[in-house]
């Protein structure tokens, strides 16, 4: 059996990136993801990699753009306010079809908000953030082990589709420790050589230009439409979620990340009381996995979306359920974490309301 080590989510994220071949990290300190930078600062010099503390998140993401353009596997990590600043650069990276991984260890907002865990950046991650028609793949691990696996996979997805991939965690996941093993992930994708990278022509090929500016609207539209065809492929083949006790469920909870785990505890307690509750846990937030919702929407009495926000993912849940069942919401925000008891009470109210 694979040797396990006990690691914080943030540390594990950093180590997984290094194991995935990332040798460049550009970042700016912000709580609660500071351990990522600290880990990189210690480890990168030992393995010939680069850790650079930039003067701002804006600079950091543009360093990522430069390094990604030069063909490297590159990571930046931040937390909510920092990701807002990076959004400009993310749009350029998407518009230039460059691969990179961005981590957002989400904290409460808006504004400076607070440093406690939150999920209120769902819209920012899945619906935009930066300007223009673009998407990035957004992966939401719920455990330190899954963080490790998804970070490794994120680099492959980024390279394979030539686009930014975001890892979205929260302060709780970043700060908690769990046993993890590192050897279990194997890429299923064959990655092409980065012949487009700006590595210098060596006078052996035509020059490479990395750019997102197009002179005519026709040209720009054509490129964006092509990029959306790629997005269609991703929606088709990469949307992913976990189902838990859904088969006989009257109510299915939709929750991602750490809150999915809190919900599982609530589900166990509900089942002890005879309430049939299940869980759909989206693993990819974009693309959002509609299939399990479609599958169960005619079987269940209702869905309950649980989030650490005022209700953001619920919009995608509603789109997926498409009016075939009611979708209710329970959430806490500002850094407050819904407890299993609160969720259970909501479930009991929902069932009670029916009786």
């Amino acid at each position: 059996m694979e040797e396990k080590v006990l690691m914080k989510g943030n540390e594990a994220l950093a180590r997984a990136a290094i194991e995935a071949g990332c040798r460049f990290f550009f970042g700016y300190p912000i709580t609660p993801q500071t351990e990522v930078a600290a880990y990189m600062a210690k480890q990168m010099p030992k393995i010939g990699g680069t850790f650079l503390q930039a003067e701002s998140e804006v600079a950091a993401i543009n360093m990522v753009y430069g390094a990604a353009g030069a063909g490297a596997r590159v990571l930046t990590s931040s937390s909510s306010p920092g990701v807002s600043l990076k959004s400009e650069g993310i749009s350029y990276i998407a518009g230039s079809d460059l691969p990179c991984v961005i981590c957002n260890i989400v904290r409460g907002g808006p504004g400076l908000g607070g440093i406690q865990p939150a999920q209120s950046d769902y819209f920012q991650a899945t619906k935009g953030g930066g300007h223009g028609d673009y998407h990035m793949i957004v992966l939401a691990p719920c455990s330190v082990q899954e963080m490790v696996n998804l970070v490794k996979e994120a680099f492959d997805l980024a390279d394979y589709y030539r686009m930014p991939v975001m890892i979205m965690g929260d302060g709780m996941l970043g700060q908690m420790m769990e046993p993890v093993s590192f050897g279990s992930y194997k890429s299923s994708k064959e990655l092409a050589e980065k012949t487009w990278a700006t590595t210098g022509t060596k006078l052996e090929r035509k020059r490479n230009i990395i750019n997102s500016l197009y002179i005519t609207p026709e040209e720009l539209e054509k490129l964006v439409v092509e990029r959306y065809k790629k997005y269609d492929t991703i929606i088709e083949s990469e949307a992913r979620s976990e189902e838990y006790m859904c088969e006989d469920a009257d109510i299915i909870i939709a929750a991602y990340g750490t809150i999915a785990r809190v919900s599982k505890t609530a589900i166990k307690r509900a089942r002890d009381k005879g309430l049939k509750v299940g869980l759909i846990r989206p693993i990819t937030l974009w693309p959002f996995d509609k299939k399990p919702f479609e599958k169960y929407s005619e079987k269940v009495k209702s869905f309950l979306t649980v989030e650490m926000s005022m209700g953001q993912m619920i919009e995608d849940v509603k789109l997926a359920v498409s009016g075939k069942a009611p979708v209710e919401f329970y959430g806490r925000t500002g850094g407050m974490i819904p407890t299993p008891e609160e969720i259970l009470e909501k479930l009991e109210n929902m069932m009670g309301g029916e009786r």
Binding site: F24, L52, E55, N62, M63, V64, G66, T198, S212
Partner: protein
């Protein structure tokens, strides 16, 4: 016998700059330098947002387009990945000295081993003649219609003077391309700035005072005269820092 021809590192694409604009001269000097140092195959350029936004079309080497002001950060990323590549940015005054001041100052402070070509024409050309951080006191622009009033609009940034205080800077030199003598000096400075990078000396910046006949509302010849009479006195030419040199 020497013949006048297009430098190999300049593509065979007609430049879009207005007649009388100095961008063309500086492009040529950069390209000649790349040719003479034999670094075309290892050079990666970073184009700015501003009138030179299409610089990526003109240099016969790998190029990346940067967001407004971010060229030094982008160059940092490129350089860190392939330290043996020669990485240069080509930026205007709005890009380098307003929206990208932080990126410029910190790349310089880190002693990032890159070359920065900085075109200072005291105005925003791309958006049609607004006040730049380098617009002279009293100068009329679209957004300083009564002349730049230092009481409310502050003073121009003297980039070479500022950056010369930083330990990471290997070379900070201000030039102009208003006459043959100065063009020769500028060429030398640009070449030195690239050579510094090859020699791993750190951050080099060459500021080139330039004309903008279109937005200054002056003929190309009048514009050169304006530059000589107004810009050079405010922005004296010369070497502000040369770590290993005479100064």
């Amino acid at each position: 016998m020497a013949t006048f021809k297009r430098p190999h590192s300049l593509t065979d694409i007609t430049l879009h700059y207005c007649p009388g604009c100095n961008h063309g001269i500086v492009h040529r000097l950069v390209a000649e330098t790349i040719d003479e140092l034999g670094i075309e195959g290892t050079t990666v350029g970073v184009a700015p947002v501003g009138c030179a936004v299409f610089a990526y079309n003109y240099f016969e080497c790998d190029m990346q387009e940067a967001a407004h002001g971010r060229a030094p950060a982008v160059a940092t990323g490129i350089k860190r990945v392939n330290p043996d590549n020669v990485v240069f940015t080509y930026q205007g005054d709005g890009d380098l000295a307003a929206i990208g001041t932080a990126e410029t100052v910190h790349a310089a402070a880190r002693g990032e081993n890159i070359t920065v070509i900085f075109i200072n024409n005291a105005i925003y050309g791309m958006t049609g003649g607004q006040m730049a951080p380098t617009t002279l006191p009293g100068q009329v622009t679209q957004t300083s219609p009564y002349g730049r009033d230092v009481q409310t609009q502050g003073y121009p940034l003297k980039i070479c003077e500022m950056l010369s205080t930083l330990d990471g800077v290997a070379l900070a030199e201000r030039c102009a391309v208003n006459n043959i003598k100065n063009i020769t000096e500028t060429k030398k400075a640009i070449k030195k700035a690239f050579q510094n990078q090859i020699d791993k000396k750190g951050f080099s910046i060459i500021e080139v005072l330039s004309t903008c006949p279109t937005n200054w509302g002056l003929s190309p010849v009048e514009a050169l005269k304006w530059l000589e009479e107004n810009m050079i006195p405010y922005y004296p030419l010369g070497v502000y820092k040369d770590k290993d040199g005479d100064k």
